[in-house]
């Protein structure tokens, strides 16, 4: 089971930097992230190479942080591939709570990271219908 970290933060100068500084000081590599803001506060999702350690050090530094389970699939870096994934998800009535993607180093494929709340067996389902679902190990180190 893979997860990323969800951190609460006020929308003020220096708040984000505080987080990246803690990661940097602890040699934690940030692989991808997304930010959602509601004006004066927001939520940051962090995908890191060592979520366990990152969770502990952020908590030690009094940040409000929790772990959230993710599902990651690899799609081809060609037009229409993300659409094909979403199409399958909606057919199966799977709702995405949060989602972001990043290009993998080969340049030909991309990882799509999704938080799926309403379908506990989403990973199994996606792999059954032919998607390349990444293991936790691969998500953190790919």
């Amino acid at each position: 089971m893979a997860y990323h970290l969800s951190v609460f933060l006020e929308n003020n100068p220096g708040k984000l930097e505080r987080i990246t500084k803690i990661l940097s000081d602890n040699s934690i590599n940030l692989r991808a992230m997304s930010l959602a803001s509601s004006g004066e506060f927001g939520v940051m999702k962090l995908l890191v190479d060592n979520p366990e350690k990152a969770f502990e050090v952020l908590k030690q530094n009094k940040l409000t942080v929790i772990k959230r389970q993710i599902t990651a699939v690899v799609v081809d870096n060609v037009p229409g591939s993300f659409n094909r994934l979403l199409n399958k998800l909606s057919q199966n009535n799977i709702n995405i709570e949060d989602c972001y993607g990043f290009l993998l180093s080969d340049g030909k494929t991309a990882a799509i990271i999704m938080e799926i709340d309403n379908t506990p067996n989403a990973s199994q389902l996606l792999s059954d219908i032919g998607f390349d679902v990444l293991t936790a190990e691969k998500i953190y180190k790919y």
Binding site: S6, F8, L9, E10, K15, A36, S37, S38, E40, F41, G42, V43, K59, K62, L63, T64, V65, I66, R68, E97, D98, E115
Partner: protein
């Protein structure tokens, strides 16, 4: 079951007779003081309790104006202690005690704690401040009188508090309600399991007005019973009224004070059951009797019999102090209404402050709430939902739409003593 059975179960008629005798005694003693010599110059005694309403009031202002010795009703050689307010805004209010007063107060505090279920085999940890503040030392004496092993740890240093609780198996704690909530964060950080690692069973919470919701939260977090304690330094300190095991109102010790409720505007005495300002006359004080002291605390007297059998009437949980009232665009609001609402929403967290400021000639009420690991669900959607819920429920409770701001855990100011939650940032010079 009872600390002083004959007093606690005293027949109502007898209790009233005792009160009348005591008030007359107190008038006599009081008239030795500079203040009451003038104030009570044409009164020597009253012939029935109905005449109490004709006696003059005493106010906090009177205490301040008579600084330092204007209320002292005995020779200095009989006085063994004073307590005092901080006096940051003018003269402090000073209260004197003879040895008899201190002993009496200790007995009363012991009675309170016994009433709530504390016994001499309990381990008592006192996290209240010692010193001029009466909260710590008052219950310290009471706990010793009761015979508990008393740990005078004082306020602050949360890790040490928990260390004492763990190692000495503290069973009874005396704590500010706001600090009880804050301390729990450290309990969690230290991975202490309240059921497995602690032996707490009773908390005395007081010195700050707090809501029933807050009490429930404290009971839930620590898996204990929390008893509401009422007192004020002008009368002696904690121990003036206390909850019994029924936890339904606080027995006001009618052998120690004579309570009245008045309309805070007309100053007329109100019948039992009506809410108003609590007025107290001391019945046993030697160094400094107070006649009809206006406490500025809002409550009502509950005269229905209590299931515990005690005949001393009860007062309802203090809803506010008259001077706590905030006026927002003409609407009267008490901070406890806001606390009650926040505490009733489980996801809302525990640390908050209230700010009032002015924007475009309109008052704005802003509530800043810390988002911590307890109440953070991890999504923006949950936070926005919480924000809307707080806004709606607070609007319903107080009639004003507040601005809800979420802030980082640990970013709000903390105080060692009573929690300061209200910050009025309006320009008062206008």
């Amino acid at each position: 079951m009872f600390w002083q059975k004959d007093i606690e179960l005293m027949d109502k008629e007898q209790l009233r007779n005792t009160q009348l005798d005591c008030i007359n005694k107190e008038i006599k003693i009081a008239k030795r003081s500079e203040f009451y010599k003038k104030k009570l110059s044409n009164i020597d005694k009253i012939s029935s309790l109905d005449d109490v309403k004709n006696l003059p009031f005493t106010t906090k202002e009177d205490l301040r104006n008579s600084f330092p010795y204007g209320f002292l009703a005995t020779d200095l050689q009989n006085v063994i202690r004073l307590h005092s307010s901080s006096g940051t805004t003018g003269n402090p209010t000073v209260v004197f005690h003879t040895a008899f007063d201190i002993s009496n107060w200790a007995n009363l505090s012991a009675r309170c704690m016994y009433t709530a279920g504390a016994r001499n085999n309990d381990i008592f940890q006192n996290t209240m401040g010692y010193g001029l503040f009466t909260g710590g030392i008052g219950f310290h004496y009471g706990a010793e009188r009761l015979g508990m092993l008393t740990i005078p740890v004082g306020p602050g240093n949360s890790k040490r508090q928990i260390w004492f609780m763990q190692n000495f198996k503290t069973s009874v704690i005396h704590i500010l309600p706001s600090y009880a909530l804050r301390l729990f964060q450290t309990v969690e950080e230290m991975h202490v399991d309240v059921k497995r690692d602690l032996n707490l069973r009773i908390a005395f919470i007081g010195a700050e007005p707090h809501s029933e919701e807050m009490r429930k939260k404290i009971e839930e977090l620590y898996n204990i019973k929390a008893f509401n304690s009422y007192g004020l330094s002008e009368i002696s300190g904690p121990g003036v009224a206390f909850e019994c095991e029924c936890q339904s109102g606080l027995h006001i010790w009618e052998d120690y004070v004579y309570p009245e409720i008045i309309d805070k505007d007309t100053l007329e005495v109100l019948p039992d059951g009506c809410e108003g300002e609590l007025v107290l006359t001391t019945l046993q004080r030697e160094a400094m009797p107070l006649i009809r002291y206006r406490t500025r605390d809002l409550t009502k007297i509950i005269s229905e019999p209590c299931a515990c059998g005690r005949t001393h009437r009860r007062i309802a949980r203090i809803t506010a102090r008259t001077d706590d009232m905030m006026i927002i665009n003409g609407v009267n609001i008490f901070p406890i209404q806001i606390e009650k609402t926040i505490m009733s929403i489980p996801e809302a967290g525990r640390n908050y402050i209230i700010e009032i400021f002015e924007n475009n000639f309109m008052d704005k009420l802003c509530i800043k709430l810390e988002i911590d690991n307890e109440n953070f669900g991890g999504t923006l959607r949950d936070l926005e939902k919480l924000q809307n819920r707080l806004e709606c429920e607070l609007k319903q409770e107080i009639g004003v739409t507040p601005v809800i701001k979420f802030v980082d855990a640990g970013s709000l100011p903390v105080s060692d003593g009573k929690a300061k939650r209200v910050f009025d940032l309006r320009n008062k010079n206008k």
